[in-house]
Structure formats: C-alpha cells, structure tokens
C-alpha cells in the first residue's frame, strides 16, 4: 500500500472533530471502601498508537494512582490484561483507542464472570483449579514408575526423544496457543449461569493433551470432562472462539471432545478404562 493510500485510509477512519480527547469510563471496586461497583470517568488525550492499556497506564500515572489492573508483556503474549471494553472481552494491550474514537467514549470493566478483587483485577484461582483438574501436561503411562510398572528402558522417555511427526503436531497445535487470558470465560454465558462449569480454555487444553500422540492420560481427563460440570454444560454458543485473541477455537475443541467423550463413557460403563 502506498503512503498516500495509507494516509487516505487513516483519514477515513478518524473523526474530523474532537480528535484529541476521549472519555474513558472505568468500573471501580475498592474492597476496603466499596460495597458496590461504580463508574469513574476520565477525559484523556489520545494518539493513534495508544492502546487501551496505554490509556489505563496514563490514567494511573496522572489521574487515579489507586486504579488497579494487571498487565505485563504489552504484546498479546502474557494474557494478563484481559478486560471488557465496550461490552466485549478484549486484551487491553492489543485493543486501540483509535477504534473507538468515533464513539467518543470507551467503557472498561473487569472480567466480571470471575470474582473481582479490585477494580479491573479478578481472582483467577477458580480457573487455575479447573486447569489443574484436567492435568494439562503429558501423561505417559510407560514413563511413569508405579509399584507395578517399572518403565522399560526401550519405551521410556527420560533419555530418549518423544517422536512426533509434523502431522501429529498439526492435530493439536492450534490449542497450544492458549495464553490463559480468560476472555473466553467472560464470553461464555454458561460460565455465567454455572461458575463450576469447566469452561472453554480448560476444556481446550484438555483436548490439546488428549490429541497428543505422546500422551496416554485421556481416560483420566475424561473422568473430569464427563462430570456434570465438565464439558457437557456447553451449548455451543461459540462466542468464546469469537473473542479468543489467539484463535484457539475452544468451542470447536469442546464439540470434538464431546464426540470423543461418549465412547470413553460407554467403555467406562463396562469397567474397562482405556488408557489411550
């Protein structure tokens, strides 16, 4: 694209009046002082390269030093700065003020489907517990020493490579991209109805390990996934995949898991727990 075209395009998206100022409304909650959530409004000057995170940092540095929010990498990798921007779950670092300039106002609130600790900070422990429950690591029966299973030197991995072809990797690679930002949990109405629902990201990560050819822990994960609060409360709304900044597609992962869970459940009825 030529420089002229680029300038032209930018000019088309920028409102001509009130270029420099925008209203940022932030939902506040200070546990020591507040019993309810409340909105605080700030007028700030914005620039073309200002992200929502930059705007919040500006507000904290200049207008409200006690404003609390999480952030780290500023480049859509750490997953810390998930919040709700004008009603849509977003990462503050990769969402830009310029995209809301024509509205003249941006509202920002916490991922309130999780307990709010302070302002834009939520307690992620409910998610961490769900993540732990699906054992998000490679379980390899042959490599796990037990009382009855002594790992065979030929099959055990410690001194050897786990072999994986590019096709085997492609099977699950998409689901490894999750950064645990929890935008999908905010997007999921089933999480809103039932906070115990395993939810999108934990289910997608369970699916990721179930699809891994090096793993033999599928039966253990399906024990959790097939519980009433496992994967089954999902009604395939699909908004989780829509808001995912890393294109993980948790909604797809859950539907694929449901299809795989039924034979796993049927097998378990006969007391034979498949290890593969």
């Amino acid at each position: 694209m030529s420089k002229e075209n680029l300038t032209q395009n930018l000019n088309n998206t920028i409102p001509t009046d009130n270029l420099s100022e925008i209203t940022i409304e932030v939902q506040r909650y200070r546990p020591e002082q507040d019993d309810e959530l409340w909105w605080q409004s700030f007028e700030i000057e914005w620039s073309q390269d200002m992200s929502i995170l930059d705007a919040l940092v500006y507000i904290k540095d200049n207008l409200a030093p006690d404003l609390a929010f999480r952030w780290s990498c500023r480049m859509e990798v750490c997953g810390s700065c998930g919040m709700v921007v004008n009603g849509v779950p977003k990462l503050a670092c990769s969402t830009f003020v310029r995209d809301y300039a024509s509205l003249g106002k941006i509202s920002i609130n916490a991922l309130d489907q999780l307990p709010i600790e302070k302002d834009l900070i939520v307690d992620v422990n409910p998610f961490i517990e769900k993540l732990e429950s699906i054992k998000p690591y490679i379980i390899n029966a042959a490599a796990t020493p037990t009382l009855t299973n002594k790992p065979e030197p030929e099959t055990v991995a410690p001194n050897k490579e786990y072999k994986q072809t590019p096709a085997q990797l492609a099977k699950f690679k998409q689901y490894t991209m999750c950064i645990n930002c929890l935008l999908c949990y905010q997007a999921c109405p089933q999480v809103g109805l039932n906070a115990n629902f395993l939810g999108p990201a934990a289910s997608a990560l369970a699916h990721r390990y179930n699809l891994d050819n090096r793993d033999t822990g599928k039966a253990q994960r399906f024990d959790v996934m097939n519980k009433a609060d496992g994967i089954w409360p999902c009604t395939f709304v699909g908004y989780c995949s829509e808001v995912c900044p890393k294109h993980v597609d948790p909604a797809g992962a859950i539907q694929q898991s449901k299809a795989a869970a039924v034979p796993q459940w049927a097998t378990s009825l006969f007391g034979k727990k498949s290890q593969s």
């Binding site: 959530l37 600790e117 492609a170 109405p189 809103g192 395939f236 699909g238 539907q255 694929q256």
Partner: protein, 166 residues
C-alpha cells in the same frame, strides 16, 4: 532447632523448611491478615444476557428455531396417527393442513429449519475437523458439501413423493 526465619535454613533441615512452606506455616502474620481482608465482588449474570450483543441474539434465534420444528414434528405425528385411523380422521388432518394459517406455519417451519441448517452447517467445521497430512480440509468445502448433501436428500425425497403421487 526450630525454623523461624529463612536464615535458620540449613542443608540438613531444608526438607523440613519446604514442608513448613507447603503447609502455609511460613506465611507471615501480615500476609494472613491481608488474605483475610479480601472481599471479592461476585457479579451475577444479568437475566437479559442474551440481549446484550448480536452474537448472543443470533445464538438465541438459532435455538428458537427448534420450537416451530418441534411443533411441525407433532403435527406430522398427528398425521401419521390419522393415517393409521379411519378415512374420516385422515381427511380431517388434510383439511387442517390446507388451512391458510397452517400454510403460513409450514412456511415458517421451512424458514426456521433452513436457518437452523445454515447455522449448524457453519459451525460444523469446528466440530468435525478433517485432517489431510499437516493441513485441514477447508471450511468452505465442508459447508458447501453439507448443502450439496441436503439438496441431494431433498431431491431423493421429492422423487419418492412424485413417484407415489403418480
């Protein structure tokens, strides 16, 4: 010697120190107080959540299509029962079907069923990925294939009806 500070930890009592840390015995009084001061705010989901954005509205529309389709299934079941009864029953059912309101209802059912197919065919590539080597079969191929299959099934059904009607 009891461990009351990190400087008390020696190579011989390090395991004991780890056990204490794991059992939260190493948490300072300040930290305990801070934990007790927490007052997380739990926000219940709004009762009208499904009206909050267009994505949820489309989702609810998709789910609502099941109602006319379910009613039509009951209607067809009634037809089946009438057919197994006497001629009078069957003729009464046929008369009801040709009522103006019933025709409107049938058209509504067709629209609802087609919209339901459109949404689920669109969602199918997520639920059923077909891998070829390191790539996956394209979404458009799967969605297009679904529509072609639907058209073939409808054509076969139409042919069967035409065959028995003549």
């Amino acid at each position: 010697m009891s461990i009351t500070d990190t400087k008390d930890i020696t190579p011989t009592n390090i395991n004991q120190a780890i056990d204490m840390a794991v059992n939260d015995q190493a948490i300072s009084e300040d930290d305990k107080l801070h934990t007790q001061r927490r007052k997380p705010y739990i926000k219940p989901q709004a009762a009208n959540w499904y009206r909050q954005n267009s994505f949820f509205q489309h989702y609810m529309l998709r789910e609502l299509t099941s109602i006319p389709v379910a009613l039509e299934s009951l209607n067809l079941f009634w037809g089946l029962v009438s057919l197994s009864g006497n001629l009078e029953h069957w003729q009464r059912w046929v008369t009801v079907q040709s009522n103006f309101l019933m025709i409107i209802f049938h058209l509504l059912v067709i629209v609802a069923a087609l919209y339901n197919s459109y949404t689920w065919f669109g969602a199918m590539p997520k639920a059923m990925r077909i891998q070829r080597g390191e790539k996956f079969v394209g979404e458009n191929i799967l969605i297009g294939g679904s529509w072609v299959t639907l058209v073939i099934i409808l054509a076969v059904l139409a042919a069967i009806v035409y065959y028995f009607a003549h």
